[in-house]
């Protein structure tokens, strides 16, 4: 409960700080809008050549794109500002400051600051999602919306845990900077996993669970959730969160700070 309160305070302060620079807000929104516009245009070109892509129709892919943007906004707003270039913090000893605070260190390290302007992307993404649903002409049943919400939470948890795992590796190998690689893998979430050739497809829905970012939530919203996705999702969430916590504890023991 206390952590939620702290998290709220962090967000509120960051929001007030960011809203002071309105030109940046407009610019950020414009950038997100062009990014989404470009993605839709690219899809539109693909669908001039084919009626379905990996079994998905055009409006369905718009819903998927909306989900993807929604998650990308959350990642960019709450997680990336903390864990991007985490290895640098380890190397120059900035982690000390975090460890001294009377809050769980993992919480501070992974959620201690945020960039609320990036939420513009999530809002636009939600708009795209609704647009896709309305072109599809189906109103999702309450059950499906519930399933979507659960898949979304699973997706968020997996995203958080996997990002922490990647960052924590820096405590063992400070030279290893996998931040850009994470961003690159994240891009695979843009499209349904069914378009990728086989060994990759299984990989993306299990070991590197990119499918939970957008494919599975969008599927749940439009066609109801599949039980197997739920079960693997829950399992992955548990395993990833537990190992993130464990690895963090283990890694901290290796952290020796840097002299100041």
């Amino acid at each position: 409960m206390r952590l939620f309160k702290i998290f709220g305070a962090i967000v509120s302060i960051a929001l007030r700080r960011d809203l002071a620079f309105r030109a940046n807000l407009v610019f950020e929104l414009l950038m997100s809008a062009t990014g989404i516009g470009a993605a839709i245009a690219a899809l539109a070109v693909v669908f001039t050549q084919t009626p379905t892509l990996g079994g998905w129709r055009f409006p369905e892919l718009i819903v998927l794109l909306g989900s993807y943007q929604l998650m990308s906004g959350l990642l960019a707003a709450f997680i990336e500002p903390n864990l991007m270039w985490f290895a640098n913090q380890v190397r120059d000893g900035k982690l000390d400051e975090l460890l001294l605070k009377p809050v769980p260190s993992l919480f501070m390290a992974s959620l201690g600051s945020c960039a609320p302007l990036a939420l513009g992307q999530s809002i636009l993404g939600s708009g795209v999602l609704i647009l896709g649903l309305s072109t599809l002409g189906t109103i999702p049943r309450p059950v499906d919306i519930g399933a979507w919400l659960i898949m979304l939470i699973i997706g968020i948890m997996i995203t958080w845990a996997s990002r922490v795992l990647i960052a924590t590796l820096a405590l063992w190998a400070p030279g290893l900077q996998l931040d850009v690689v994470y961003g690159a893998l994240w891009q695979f979430g843009r499209y349904p996993v069914s378009i990728y050739p086989e060994p990759l497809r299984t990989l993306l829905s299990s070991l590197v669970p990119v499918a939970f970012v957008a494919t599975f939530p969008a599927q749940a919203l439009m066609h109801g959730a599949e039980q197997s996705h739920f079960i693997t999702g829950m399992l992955l969430t548990c395993v990833a969160t537990l190992s993130a916590g464990l690895l963090w504890q283990r890694g901290l023991r290796r952290y020796t700070s840097a002299t100041s």
């Binding site: 950038m31 690219a42 693909v46 050549q49 290893l176 690689v181 961003g183 378009i195 990728y196």
Partner: protein, 255 residues
Amino acid sequence: MIRLFHLVWGHTLRQLLETLGWRSFLITLVINQSITPLLGLAVWSAAAPGMAITTYYVAILAVQMLTVSYEHHTLANAIYAGDISHELLRPQPVIVVTLGMNLALRIWHFLFALPVMILIILLSTVRFQPSDLLIALPALVMAMLVRFLFTYLLALAAFWTQQAHGVVGFGETLLFLLGGIAAPIALFPEAWRQLGVALPFRAMLGFPAEIAAGGLSRDQILIGFLWQLTWLIVFGLIAMRIWHMGLRRYTVVGG
């Protein structure tokens, strides 16, 4: 002119060695740059399966690696930090340093991505015609020049605004969409195809790949070269003008 070439080459060699110092980061950059062409390959292999698509995307992966431009990191950040003051004092054009870094990064990008390309070629039995590759070579050199000038031009926004990274990012989005990665320009709807051929983005990326993949007629190749030349001159002139305007605005404090 010869002195200029020597200077650029000297800087390139220096930067080749210097960037090798952070090679692990370099590899992550290469992965990041190759992801959009690979995604394009995945999407289009699902949408319109066939040899031609794979050949095209292998070619565009190579072109992407040889034309990557990070002037928003190198030049724009140097302007923000005031580092270009040192360069301004040297008896050589400042662009020589930027160009050297650019070439060094491109060479490393290409070499690091080479295994991926070879792997795709081996897995998919893609074949390139040597004669096509020969014609693609000058187009590639032109693309390298045009894309460098384009990114350089956008990065010069750093003289006026804090958002140079965003400006370059916007340019990259357009390049992704209209340059031939999101979709091969040959597969655009009719009206858009004509626009795509004329816009500078194909000149920077898609054109050499299309030649290498062997899908263009003699006339189409000629028109492509003409557009490349046009954009090279246009961007070159604007970049020169903007650079001088920017320099007049540039102030730096401290020493």
